[in-house]
């Protein structure tokens, strides 16, 4: 039994979630403040992976980062960076693909906070950054946790986009969902069952943890 797909999947989901948390908090804050044309465009781009077939996103990433041409060739020649068929490529694709799951809950929680909370903090002489860290963030804690879990769980289940940009290289890009598909193709139902069961148990445990954490707020992870 090869455990590397499970390890690789957890590593991919962990790194993606951390990166998206770093990117997502300021981005969600920016999007939650006011409305402008550029924000609408940004929101559309961030939301696209929700409705776009993963293979479409994967295809364009494959073209964009192909070492044979354009930007991918430039990255490869000047920085020796290759995103196609590599783990960093999987991370990049996962960050783009899972972005709406991190941004959505945080942005909507920030929008639901009364504007007067920030205003009260400003009248106390606090900057927007201090206000965000000391007032806004602590009051959307459950939504941030929901966003983290959704992002992690969604990355665990990625298939199409990962297959397109990463392929199926054992130990490098073969994540659990691809290993399941591969095992079924080879009629190895026992391995497919082990991978599937593990993904099921991990996902069940983290979603359950969120329900327990948020029980006082009576929120489901999808809120």
């Amino acid at each position: 039994m090869d455990w590397s797909p499970i390890w690789l999947t957890l590593r991919l989901a962990g790194i993606t979630t951390i990166l998206l948390l770093i990117i997502g908090l300021p981005l969600a804050y920016w999007l939650s403040n006011g409305r402008s044309f550029i924000k609408i465009i940004a929101e559309v781009i961030i939301t696209m992976p929700l409705v776009l077939p993963p293979s479409v996103l994967g295809f364009y990433l494959l073209i964009a980062f192909s070492p044979q041409q354009g930007f991918g060739k430039w990255l490869s020649e000047h920085f020796n960076i290759q995103f196609v068929f590599s783990f960093p490529g999987l991370v990049l694709a996962s960050v783009i693909y899972s972005m709406p799951f991190m941004i959505g809950p945080i942005k909507s929680a920030l929008q639901q906070l009364p504007l007067s909370l920030s205003q009260a903090s400003y009248t106390l002489g606090k900057t927007p950054m201090q206000t965000f860290i000391k007032v806004l963030l602590p009051n959307i804690r459950s939504s941030v946790l929901t966003a983290i879990v959704l992002t992690f769980a969604h990355t665990l289940g990625e298939f199409g986009v990962v297959l397109m940009i990463g392929g199926n290289i054992p130990g490098v890009t073969r994540v659990a969902s691809i290993a399941i598909y591969d095992a079924v193709e080879n009629m190895d139902y026992a391995s497919a069952n082990v991978y599937s069961l593990l993904l099921f148990v991990i996902t069940f445990a983290i979603v359950m943890a969120v329900f327990i954490f948020n029980k006082h707020a009576a929120k489901s992870p999808l809120e």
């Binding site: 007067s116 205003q119 009248t123």
Partner: protein, 205 residues
């Protein structure tokens, strides 16, 4: 002296309305602000605080310009030294009574004095959700005073207090404002309640 000359378009239930205020306020005075619902009393306070921008206007506080729309000058709210009591209190749900005051000031003696003034000494570790309406309102007043502002803006600050508590708080507030030399604007739907401490009044039409 505070010179205020502002004009702002407002949307109300009755349609569009223009808030026009042109007044001068003596330093260290307590001004009663009154007017009909939707006349713009809260908006005026927010404009003075720097939280809302009028279409046209100038505000000068003790010779320091705060706002001048003619040259797009708008002093940041953080630099105006204004304390504000919001109508909905705007308390921070994540902070206890003590944390609210410690967030505003590091002066522990001042915090102790404010807690005594607001009679919240026994509620130090309570978060807003565990306070009564009157206690929440007192905390909002204490937080606004915590920074020792040069101008205090209060939007319906006594509405949730019982009559006995209201008299005590208003009397003690007057003493504090005098001692610190704070100019104060108080919006009230019940102007009679602050008649005893107001030096002047401003009617918003």
């Amino acid at each position: 002296m505070i010179n205020i000359a502002i004009e702002k378009k407002m949307r109300t239930y009755q349609g569009h309305n223009i808030l026009k205020v042109n007044t001068s306020i003596a330093p260290k005075s307590i001004i009663k602000v009154y007017g009909a619902s939707g006349s713009g009393k809260t908006t005026l306070l927010k404009i003075i605080a720097g939280l809302t921008l009028p279409e046209k206007g100038k505000i000068i506080f003790n010779d320091t310009p705060w706002l001048n729309t003619d040259n797009n000058f708008n002093l940041a709210v953080q630099k105006r030294g204004v304390g504000m009591v919001f109508q909905n209190y705007a308390l921070f749900p994540n902070m206890t009574v003590l944390q609210h005051l410690e967030y505003a000031t590091k002066d522990q003696q001042w915090i102790d004095r404010l807690l005594h003034f607001g009679q919240l000494e026994t509620m130090l570790l309570h978060k807003p959700e565990h306070l009564s309406g009157g206690q929440q309102q007192r905390l909002a007043i204490l937080r606004a005073l915590a920074t020792k502002p040069q101008l205090l803006l209060m939007d319906e600050p006594f509405s949730a207090l019982d009559p006995e508590m209201r008299v005590g708080i208003i009397t003690e507030l007057k003493n504090l404002l005098n001692e610190l030399g704070i100019t104060c604007l108080i919006v009230s739907h019940n102007p009679l309640e602050i008649d005893s401490i107001a030096d002047d009044e401003l009617c918003i039409l």
